[in-house]
């Protein structure tokens, strides 16, 4: 009996097993072009069971016999349901509809994801594929021309350098106008954290290959959940997560070479051209022509044969930069636990000597479904970067400055091949300790190293309290250490006077964002097509900084010791902490009525340590609505529109970014004297200091027509940023030049259009076009007492663009006398040849009026051709170095001049824009004026990629699931550039040329392998 019972139990167990028996469903998911879709989510409808596709688009999911429907979804694709009833084990190849064609797409938004149907704001999504395995050191550089309304501009071609990003116009004067970066829920540090060295971008510590998707939030309803930090837009980065199913490996390798992207026609003069300019300068100064050669040799110290020596300092100060990158990733797991792991290596040499960048990265992401109710996700992403960066701007050690300024008859090496400098340099080209340094020595003997260590991690627990109520607790943190070591050798250059010197700087930052929120999805009707989605929670943000710096000089007479440890005389020692905190409450809600009408709203209260005690709290809100017109009954009978959606949103967000941590306090800071401590006034202080407030309206129209052959979005926005942190200039006689107060407002309004077309879609050949264009108008609406604020070469003035130049108005050259002329005022009616009587006026903006991008993608069988342009029109670039390089005689003999000087006026009747060259430039013709402005227009072939996917049949004998080979060129060609511009037309958002490392052009070849 006992045995029988045992048997029965066993049998029952067996039956249980049988009734619960599972089988696998397999399939391949591709896009419209037949390319596999990696990372698509495959879930069993009505359960938590799910997996995702691997890099070859395949998946395998274990499902119970009773399973009926699979739900397939992927970022940028429409969600699709597939019937698997009747125990189907394969669904074959399923083609997902591409983005924009449908509203059931999933997008990442603040504190979660959202069906695109429910989106009432302006959210642009960039698939990880767009930024991965590009030869760019950071993700921001890969976003140029990709997102409508987002202006991205490099200020420097230094690998690892910071990038300027502005979304929907500049909305701040003195605080940051840059967007907020959020990586996996953590507020991320962006900008430039260096102290000694020139530039280092914290985002360069993130391997773009680890990025799953990027969402750019532009309007109030999408950014208001970030409250006091949302005003300038938010960029949400989601890193890759594991996918259940067979374990897949993917390896990508790319190798290439960099050279100068833009070769200007306006170049420095060669020796005989310099002779022409110098002779004109001296002759016009009144030196008899027969004495000129004697003056050049005796007074200027030129060798008699100087015209026969020609050094191309551009070439000397440049290098062919090799570049390589390899990254490998693994994804796999089962329906309880999934894993993603990756490792990467990236190495790029800049095109200036002593400029390079190297990065190692590693990432691990684990998701564990502990039960139907509880899921834990943990990510860690760690990296180390090292970059060598030459100095920029007007420093004598800047190789780019040297390439323009050094006289062409100077030579870097002596006849015996040794470096030319000091005592052996009998022509005094590179005297010890003075003047522009021999760049090859600087590169060989000095060290400017910045290293960053970054660890970003997050732990997130999601607990289903009820079927429709979820609690999420997420702790995300970022650790960033920037370590800079600068060494200047004891033999020659900046360090010579000090017997060699060294400076080291260590900046460490640790911050965490801890968010706790509830998410309630409540149906209103029985059909479930009218529902609320409500989120509410609290958040704490704490950023702790620590800085440690030291400096010293007097090294042993060797190049073998380069660190501070070996200096005999310490000169700088400083250390200390600083901290910034924010505490917040927030609520976000959507209401969906039958997918036809959607209303959303949010509110957030933030308290920040940056402000005075009475002004710490701020409230931010937004409301938005959308009308899916194509869901209306009256649209059922038309065939033109596959999608027609009208969106509108309004709200208030804030900006605290870039305020400085203690700006509200009147303060004294250190200034020491004769070995004793000293203090001086450093900050005026403003106890009323508070947020910048951004009120934004967004109206958008999404559409798809002609059976989804063409889709697009047109958006209009109007944002007013008030209480701007702006400098109130003081008379210098007060002892302060200015302080920042909440004064004034600026209005940005504009239109963005994104159009996607698929002119050809056949089985073998497809052609896809993505085009976007943005236009923004910026106007200062209000300033303190209506007074204009001088701001470098700009003057901030009510009714004008924030970046409008305020300069003496250049009126060209008098054809009769060759004299420089200026207008006496902005009306351009009267002219003067006296620079001091030249009138200043506001005109020409540094901001572009239109910008955007155009991408064409062609696929033919396994071949893919991707051609991406970006463009920028209407801005003017200000050249800080013009008056040295086009000095009209002021620096004749001292610095080399540009070949534009050869156009100088010679005789009455000459029509030219370069005045008569006179030694010393007594007429100030080279002084600041609109003559310094260049048009900033350009169209750039940003990326050209041609690749071939080896047919899967051909790979059968190998163990590979995918083999893709490609060649690529970035910044291959640049069109439409002002011919007098001697630099690259990309000059940052402020359009200021500052002799930075030139922007590279890259040729590369790569291979992607999946197995």
């Amino acid at each position: 009996m006992r045995r029988f019972l045992l048997c029965l139990c066993f049998f029952a167990l067996l039956i249980g097993q049988v009734t619960a028996q599972n089988h696998s469903v397999t399939g391949i998911i591709t896009d419209g072009n037949g390319a596999p879709v990696a990372g698509a989510s495959v879930t069993l409808k009505g359960s938590t069971r799910g997996t995702s596709t691997s890099t070859d688009g395949t998946f395998s999911l274990s499902v119970p016999e009773t399973a009926r429907t699979l739900v397939l979804s992927a970022v940028n694709f429409a969600t699709m349901e597939v019937d698997i009833s009747g125990g189907r084990t394969s669904i074959g190849t399923i083609v997902l509809q591409a983005a924009g064609k449908s509203l059931s797409e999933v997008v990442v938004v603040a504190y979660g994801t959202q069906n695109k149907t429910n989106v009432t704001g302006s959210v642009a999504t960039v698939n990880g594929n767009v930024v991965s395995d590009k030869p760019f050191t950071s993700v921001d550089k890969a976003l140029q021309g990709v997102v409508p309304g987002m202006q991205v501009s490099s200020t420097s071609g230094q690998p690892g350098s910071a990038t300027d990003i502005v979304i929907r116009g500049i909305g701040s004067i003195n605080a940051s106008a840059s967007p907020l970066w959020v990586i996996d829920g953590a507020i991320a540090t962006s900008g430039d954290l260096t102290s000694n060295t020139t530039t280092a971008n914290p985002l360069s510590t993130l391997n773009p290959d680890d990025i799953e998707s990027i969402s750019v939030l532009k309007d109030a309803v999408s950014t208001a959940p970030y409250g006091s930090r949302g005003a300038n837009g938010v960029i949400l980065v989601t890193t890759r997560k594991g996918r259940a199913g067979k374990t897949h490996f993917s390896v990508v390798g790319e190798f290439g070479q960099n050279s100068r992207a833009y070769n200007p026609t306006n170049t420095p003069e060669n020796s005989s051209q310099l002779k022409t300019t110098l002779t004109q300068a001296l002759t016009n100064y009144g030196i008899p022509a027969n004495q000129v050669p004697g003056i050049i040799t005796n007074a200027f110290g030129y060798p008699t044969n100087y015209t026969s020596i020609n050094t191309n300092w551009f070439d000397i100060a440049s290098q062919m930069g090799a570049q390589s990158q390899v990254s490998a990733s693994l994804t796999g797991g089962n329906d309880k636990t999934t894993v993603y792991a990756s490792g990467g290596y990236f190495n790029q040499k800049g095109i200036s000597i002593a400029s390079d960048f190297q990065r190692f990265t590693g990432a691990l992401s684990l998701t564990h479904r502990a039960s139907d109710r509880f899921t834990l996700t943990a990510n860690i992403n760690a990296s180390n970067t090292a970059q060598h960066t030459p100095s920029n701007g007007g420093t004598f050690a800047n190789p780019v400055l040297a390439s323009f300024f050094l006289l062409p008859w100077y030579t870097p090496y002596l006849a015996n091949g040794k470096f030319r400098y000091g005592a052996a340099d009998t022509l005094n080209e590179f005297p010890l300790g003075g003047s522009i340094f021999n760049p090859v020595i600087q590169a060989a003997w000095n060290n400017n190293l910045a290293q960053q260590t970054a660890i970003r991690g997050s732990v997130m627990g999601e607990l289903k309290l009820l079927d429709n109520l979820k609690l999420t607790s997420r702790l995300s943190s970022e650790y960033l250490a920037v370590q800079e070591d600068q060494y200047r050798n004891p033999f020659y250059g900046d360090g010579y006077g000090n017997g060699g010197d060294a400076f080291s700087n260590y900046n460490r930052m640790f911050d965490y964002t801890w968010s706790n929120f509830l998410d309630l999805k409540q149906k209103v009707n029985t059909d479930g097509d009218e529902y609320f989605d409500l989120k509410g929670g609290i958040e704490a943000y704490d950023a702790k900084f620590y800085t440690l710096s030291g400096g010293g000089h007097s090294f042993p007479q060797t190049l073998g010791l380069k660190y501070l440890a070996n200096t005999a005389v310490p000169t700088v020692a400083s250390a200390g902490p600083s901290e910034q905190t924010t505490f917040s409450y927030f609520g976000i809600g959507d209401f969906n009525f039958k997918d036809r009408y959607i209303v959303s709203a949010s509110v957030r209260r933030d308290e920040s340590s940056v402000f005075g005690a009475e002004h710490r709290w701020g409230t931010f809100y937004s409301v938005g609505g959308s009308w899916n017109i194509n869901e209306e009954a009256f649209m059922k009978h038309q065939n033109l529109f596959d999608l027609l959606k009208l969106r509108i949103s309004y709200g208030q967000t804030g900006n605290t970014n870039g305020f400085g941590l203690y700006t509200s306090l009147p303060q004294y800071g250190s200034s020491n004297y004769s070995g004793q401590a000293g203090l001086v006034p450093t900050n005026v202080g403003d106890s009323a200091l508070t947020w910048e407030k951004n009120k934004a309206l967004n109206i958008g129209l999404d559409f798809a027509i002609l059976k989804d052959r063409i889709d697009g979005t047109i958006e209009y926005y109007h944002r007013t940023t008030a209480d701007l942190l702006s400098p109130v200039p003081f008379s210098f006689t007060t002892g302060f030049s200015s302080q920042n107060e909440n004064i004034g407002s600026v209005v940005n309004k504009g239109i963005e259009i994104a159009l996607n077309g698929r002119p050809v879609v056949t089985r073998d050949f497809t052609w896809e076009i993505n085009f976007n264009i943005s236009h923004n108008t910026n106007r200062v609406a209000e300033l303190y007492q209506g007074k204009s604020i001088p701001n470098g070469s700009f003057q901030i003035t009510v009714g004008h663009d924030l970046q409008e130049y305020y300069l003496q108005q250049w009126a060209g050259v008098d054809p009769q006398t060759g004299a420089a002329q200026w207008y006496t005022d902005g009306t351009h009616t009267k002219m003067t040849t006296n620079y001091d009587s030249a009138g200043l006026a506001l005109n020409h903006s540094a901001s572009p009026s239109v910008f955007g991008g155009l991408t064409n993608t062609f696929t033919f069988k396994g071949f893919v051709l991707d051609v991406q342009f970006d463009y920028n029109f209407g801005n003017y670039i200000f050249d800080n170095w013009y008056n040295y390089l086009n000095s009209d005689g002021a620096y004749a003999g001292s610095f080399n001049q540009m070949n534009t000087q050869l156009r100088a006026w010679q005789k009455p009747g000459d029509k030219t824009d370069v005045p008569q060259i006179v030694y010393g430039d007594p007429s100030f013709s080279s002084s600041p004026s609109t003559r310094w402005l260049y048009k900033g227009n350009y169209i750039r072939l940003r990326n050209l990629q041609f690749g071939y996917d080896i047919k899967p049949e051909a790979l059968k004998k190998t163990h590979l699931s995918r083999l893709f080979i490609y060649i690529r060129g970035t910044n291959l060609a640049t069109f439409g550039v002002d011919k007098d511009l001697p630099y690259d037309p990309e000059a940052g958002v402020a359009s200021q040329a500052n002799l930075e490392v030139l922007i590279p052009k890259t040729f590369a070849a790569g291979v992607k392998v999946g197995f």
Binding site: G301, N428, G434, I538, P681, D836, P922
Partner: protein, 473 residues
């Protein structure tokens, strides 16, 4: 209600409670202050901190845009003692050529930084602190404020002796960040200088080292202010008091070169009465005064005219170094500041005993006391050149002798242009091989461009000064 949902409700209540608790402790969570800076109120609260603030004021004077380089360099370069070579690094080009634009990037920082120093001084003077070292601290602040106004009024305004009712510089005596002061008259500025120096003398500390201003250095500056006003009687009284009663002595001929080569703080009361310290840690690096003359940019050289004034036996030739310009032309290098490449940089002399002798001599000569005048000028001339028999001229010729001796003695220390201005003399530059544009100029007096323009940025910021630009700019 079942147990499960009860547990869930409990969890929710617990979490909300935790949230509120976090919220209520948020006050300390968001209350942060700087680890690097002190509040203004606290920085001005005790005698000890006031003394620290005074060190900050001294450090401000060391700035490149003030005594650190611009002040001493321009006084000679804009006159006839030095020249800028043709192959230069782009510094002081407009100053040498007498073509300074209103946007000039030397003029504006001189103006701005000087007023920063005046703010430092005003804050100390107005601080509600008493006792301890306060009186001595405030006395130094008064003296340094006077020194800054003296430099400003000489750089930006025509001399007192030419037009005392002309436009001077704004007189700012108290911290008011919203003030937009107009220009006081030259006479009002000098009245304030004299008043500040006299106030300073009441509680001024005695000499303890060369790098802090003390009683007789202040009185020497007072003598100089009177001299510049043409008030020769008061100038003589003050200068003679310093000569007769101060502990200072002239440097001996044998020690002349080593005196200039010594970068250390002095406590011996030899020659230098007040100088600004450039120590191994706090200095101007490669923008040091010695960098522009000798080791570094090496852009400015001694003019041939000046070099030819010295006799072979004059010890002052020991600080003229025969050499070449970067262009290869033979020229004398300025050797008064030879420590640019050393750790401890040259201190910047502000007032020396030799100058006080020359003030006394000039004032006495102007007052008609030829004997005393000869005695004072010869005290310097014969110490510097033991082979020199001394000046024996009288009247106008004696004044000319004294001005020339002043030129030779104070060369490269920044006074020459302002001496020529106050005396209403033309600037006649000789010619120098390898010089930049501006060499050989003859600049008459009066002449509009012998004073600097009010910087354009000040004009844009300060409506009161808008119509008070110097004529000609």
């Amino acid at each position: 209600m079942n147990t499960k949902s009860r547990t869930q409700q409990f969890t929710i209540v617990l979490l909300l409670g935790a949230g509120l608790a976090l919220g209520s402790c948020s006050k300390s969570f968001v209350d942060k202050s700087s680890a690097f800076n002190l509040s203004m109120t606290e920085a001005l609260s005790t005698p000890e901190l006031l003394q620290t603030d005074l060190n900050g004021l001294y450090a401000e004077l060391r700035n490149v845009d003030q005594f650190g380089r611009d002040f001493p360099v321009l006084g000679d370069l804009e006159a006839d003692n030095t020249f800028l070579e043709a192959r230069n690094t782009g510094r002081y080009v407009y100053q040498f050529a007498y073509t300074v634009p209103v946007t000039d990037n030397v003029t504006q920082p001189m103006w701005q930084e000087s007023y920063n120093g005046i703010l430092d001084a005003n804050q100390i003077i107005d601080a509600q602190v008493t006792g301890g070292t306060t009186a001595a601290t405030k006395a130094q602040a008064y003296a340094l404020r006077a020194l800054l106004y003296f430099k400003l009024v000489n750089i930006f305004a025509q001399p007192y002796t030419f037009d005392s009712l002309g436009m001077g510089v704004p007189l700012v005596l108290h911290y008011d960040v919203n003030a937009t002061p107009g220009r006081a008259t030259v006479a009002q500025v000098y009245r304030q200088i004299v008043s500040d120096l006299r106030t300073a003398l009441v509680s001024a500390p005695d000499y303890s080292s060369s790098v802090f201003i003390s009683k007789y250095a202040i009185e020497g500056l007072l003598a100089k202010a009177y001299l510049y006003m043409g008030d020769y009687a008061d100038a003589a009284t003050a200068a003679v008091d310093v000569i007769n009663n101060s502990p200072f002595t002239l440097v001996s001929p044998g020690a002349y070169k080593s005196f200039w080569a010594n970068p250390n703080v002095q406590t011996s009361a030899i020659e230098v009465m007040f100088e600004i310290d450039c120590d191994p840690v706090n200095n101007n690096g490669f923008d040091d005064l010695g960098g522009i003359y000798l080791n570094g940019y090496q852009d400015i050289y001694c003019s041939l005219d000046l070099a030819n004034l010295y006799s072979a036996t004059d010890v002052r030739t020991e600080v003229l170094i025969p050499g070449y310009t970067k262009g290869g032309a033979p020229a004398y290098l300025v050797g008064k500041f030879p420590n640019a490449l050393n750790t401890d940089k040259d201190n910047i002399k502000v007032i020396r005993l030799a100058e006080v002798y020359l003030i006394a001599a000039e004032a006495e000569a102007q007052l008609g006391d030829n004997t005393d005048a000869q005695n004072y000028v010869n005290a310097v001339a014969e110490t510097r050149d033991p082979a020199f028999g001394g000046y024996s001229d009288n009247g106008a010729q004696l004044i000319t002798d004294i001005v020339q001796e002043r030129r030779k003695e104070l060369a490269f220390e920044g006074d020459r242009k302002y001496d020529l201005n106050r005396l209403g003399l033309p600037i006649d530059r000789g010619t120098n091989q390898g010089a930049a544009s501006g060499d050989g100029l003859s600049i008459p007096f009066p002449y509009e461009y012998r004073v600097a323009p009010i910087p354009q940025q000040e004009i844009l910021r300060n409506p009161t000064i808008k119509n008070q630009q110097n004529p000609g700019y």
